[in-house]
């Protein structure tokens, strides 16, 4: 872990704090209301707000998770730094792809 990765990880972490707190509150609310898929989707469809919010969430979580995974690999697996780096990038890209697809799914479909 060098200064560049450190900054990206700590800064995305700081960004994630409010994003996660709001997300947990939203989930509490949704489960308490017993919302169905229809209820949820009616709220997310065409919503710029939800799209932006969750797109930012996906981006931050993907970067943060990828760097975290990289650390775990360099410290706990026999992979060297470069290989761990590639794996982490692949993992991060996968999260971005699946995540933005999910955002599109609830905002566009």
């Amino acid at each position: 872990m060098n200064v560049r990765l450190y900054l990206w990880q700590r800064l995305t972490a700081a960004l994630l704090v409010p994003l996660v707190v709001v997300h947990i509150a939203v989930i509490f609310y949704a489960t308490r209301q017993g919302m169905t898929a229809a209820d949820i989707l009616s709220r997310t469809h065409g919503s710029i707000v939800w799209a932006s919010y969750y797109a930012a969430f996906v981006a931050a979580a993907s970067i943060h998770g990828a760097i975290g995974v990289r650390n775990v690999l360099t410290e706990w697996s026999p992979l060297n730094d470069r290989r761990a780096g590639w794996f982490a990038v692949a993992f991060g890209l996968m999260l971005v792809a699946l995540g933005l697809r999910a955002v599109a799914a609830v905002v566009l479909s």
């Binding site: 872990m1 060098n2 200064v3 990765l5």
Partner: protein, 240 residues
């Protein structure tokens, strides 16, 4: 009838085993007293290090019941639960023999972290006037009393997991120099600690702070380095 301690001591090198000795328990006995007793009366082939035996040199650090400690300052009564002691060499360092370890990597990392004063003046210049209460000097003084005993290095999870990591002691010394107004080597030093294996690898687990016998706080020193290196990176003063 004096109570007896059952003391397991590591014998061998990387490959080896614990051997058990019966050592009479005495009042105010320290773990160093126990090891010395074994070597003098039970097994003269036992190898171990000590010097001052009063807690100022840092030579006698060993793993006592799983934790790195100064053996001269560890009272047996405080750690020998049920009259048992397990004594081994410091962790995270290659074992030379029995309780002695090869401290070379510890000191090499000191150099790699640029924990070395880089003078900016000569004997012909005026003596630097350093205010002892300036924030930088206070920060340096809070971290300066390290005697290189290796306890923090042995306690550190990140040292254990990451062979490149400089470790708490080397980084703490680098931090004191970052705060030393007389030092002229900060550009290279920040570059060194911002690299892979430098201060940013620290996970702030704080085992170092918990166990440092000098009551230093390497986590805080390293946190200071992290902030300084990050600021320098953002300003373009160092590169990755």
């Amino acid at each position: 009838m004096l109570a007896e301690l059952s003391v397991s001591v590591w014998r061998g090198a990387e490959a080896g085993r614990y051997e058990t000795y019966a050592v009479p328990q005495r009042e105010s006995q320290t773990v160093l007293d126990v090891v010395t007793f074994v070597q003098r009366h039970l097994d003269p082939t036992l190898s171990y290090r000590f010097a001052c035996r009063v807690g100022v040199c840092g030579s006698c650090a060993m793993t006592v019941n799983g934790k790195p400690r100064w053996t001269c300052r560890t009272h047996v009564s405080k750690v020998a639960g049920g009259g048992r002691l397990e004594i081994g060499p410091l962790a995270n360092l290659a074992v030379i023999k029995d309780l002695t370890t090869d401290m070379a990597p510890f000191f090499e990392k000191w150099q790699q972290a640029k924990g070395v004063f880089a003078p900016s003046k000569t004997r012909h210049d005026a003596i630097a006037q350093i205010r002892p209460d300036s924030p930088a000097r206070l920060a340096a003084d809070a971290a300066i009393e390290c005697i290189n005993c290796g306890v923090c290095y042995a306690a550190c999870d990140t040292v254990r997991w990451n062979a490149e990591y400089f470790g708490p002691a080397a980084l703490t010394r680098a931090w004191t120099l970052v705060n030393d107004e007389r030092d002229g080597g900060n550009a290279a030093r920040l570059q060194a600690v911002a690299a892979s294996g430098g201060c940013h690898a620290c996970h702030s687990h704080q085992s170092c702070q918990e166990l440092c016998p000098q009551a230093l706080n390497p986590t805080a020193s390293i946190a200071g380095l992290k902030r300084r290196a990050a600021a320098a990176y953002l300003k373009g003063e160092i590169k990755t």
